[in-house]
C-alpha cells in the first residue's frame, strides 16, 4: 500500500516526539491503544492556566499512519484552547493525511488520544 506524501513526511520527520515530565502539574497524558493492530499511542499536552495548549509531545508504537496521525495532532493542538482541541475529528486527520479506508482507525486513535488527555485535564481541574 502506498503512503501519501504527507504521511511519509510525518513518518520520516516526526514532530514533537518524546515525553514531558509527568510530575509537572500542567502536563496531562492520554494513553490509547488499538487492539486491531496492537498500536499504542501516548499524547501529552502542556496546558497553561488560561486553558491554552502550550506544547504537545507524543510517543507512538505502530504503523506509519499511526505515527503520522499523532505527529500531526501535536502540531494542530498547539496554541488551541482545550475546547478547540477537543473538537478535532478523526475525519479531519484522515483527510489531511489522505489515509486510505483501512488506516482510518489510526486517525480514530489520534482523536481518542486527544480526548483521553483532555479528560484527564478536566478531572484535574474539578479537583
Amino acid at each position: 500500500m502506498a503512503y501519501s506524501e504527507k504521511v511519509i513526511d510525518h513518518y520520516e520527520n516526526p514532530r514533537n516526539v518524546g515525553s514531558f515530565d509527568k510530575n509537572d502539574p500542567s502536563v496531562v497524558t492520554g494513553m490509547v491503544g488499538a487492539p486491531a493492530c496492537g498500536d499504542v499511542m501516548k499524547l501529552q499536552l502542556k496546558i497553561g492556566a488560561n486553558g491554552i495548549i502550550e506544547d504537545a509531545k507524543f510517543k507512538t508504537y505502530g504503523c506509519g499512519s499511526a505515527i503520522a496521525s499523532s505527529s500531526l495532532v501535536t502540531e494542530w493542538v498547539k496554541g488551541k484552547t482545550v475546547e478547540e482541541a477537543a473538537s478535532i475529528k478523526n475525519a479531519d486527520i484522515a483527510e489531511e493525511l489522505a489515509l486510505p479506508p483501512v488506516k482510518i482507525h489510526c486517525s480514530i486513535l489520534a482523536e481518542d488520544a486527544i480526548k483521553a488527555a483532555i479528560e484527564e485535564y478536566k478531572s484535574k481541574q474539578s479537583k
Binding site: 494513553m31 482507525h105 486513535l109
Partner: protein
C-alpha cells in the same frame, strides 16, 4: 459459520487439540476436490468451497486466541472488525514499556538473553490472560462475555509484541 459444529465439537474454549487435528484430517479427506474429479461441476465447486471452510475452521479453532474470538462472535460479539480504542492506562503503560525494551535489545550486551527474558515475561502475562479468559468463556453471561472480550483485546496486543520480538530475534541471527 459455526466451526465447532463443522468439526462436531462441543463449543468450548478448552478443546482436545489432538481430537481437533484428527477430525480435520477426516473432514479434509471427505471434501477433497480429488474425490470429485468425475463429479458434476456443481459438486466440484462445492468441494472447493467446503475445503476452504474446513481449512479456515481448523486455523480458527487451533489458535486459542482465534478460538476465543470465534466463540464470542457466535455469541454476537464481533471483535474482528472493531475499530474501538482501549484506554486501560495501566495496561497501555506496560505495553509502552515492553515496546521500549524491544527497541533496546540491539544495544544490550547479550541481546539473545534480553530476547529470552522478554519471551518469558510475555508468556507469563499471556498465561494469566488465557487462564482468566478460559474461566470467563465457560458462562455465556453478558458481563462475562464483555470481560472475555477485554482479555482478547489484550491478547491481541501481546500477539503483536510476540511478532515484533520474533522479528528482532530473526534479525539477530542473520
Amino acid at each position: 459459520m459455526n466451526y465447532f459444529e463443522l468439526f462436531d465439537l462441543v463449543p468450548a474454549f478448552d478443546i482436545d487439540t489432538a481430537n481437533l487435528a484428527e477430525r480435520y484430517r477426516d473432514l479434509q479427506r471427505a471434501v477433497h476436490p480429488d474425490k470429485f474429479a468425475h463429479a458434476s461441476e456443481q459438486q466440484k465447486l462445492l468441494s472447493v468451497q467446503r475445503t476452504a471452510q474446513v481449512n479456515d475452521g481448523y486455523q480458527t479453532l487451533k489458535s486459542p486466541l482465534r478460538r476465543a474470538e470465534h466463540m464470542l462472535s457466535l455469541r454476537g460479539i464481533d471483535l474482528s472488525h472493531e475499530t474501538t480504542t482501549i484506554r486501560d492506562s495501566g495496561f497501555l503503560m506496560q505495553q509502552m514499556e515492553w515496546r521500549e525494551m524491544l527497541e533496546d535489545i540491539n544495544d544490550a550486551a547479550e541481546p539473545q538473553d534480553a530476547v529470552d527474558a522478554l519471551y518469558d515475561s510475555f508468556a507469563s502475562y499471556e498465561k494469566s490472560l488465557f487462564t482468566l479468559l478460559s474461566q470467563l468463556l465457560i458462562t455465556a453471561a453478558e458481563d462475562d462475555n464483555k470481560q472475555a472480550a477485554d482479555q482478547i483485546r489484550k491478547l491481541k496486543f501481546m500477539a503483536k509484541l510476540n511478532d515484533e520480538l520474533a522479528r528482532i530475534e530473526d534479525a539477530l541471527l542473520d
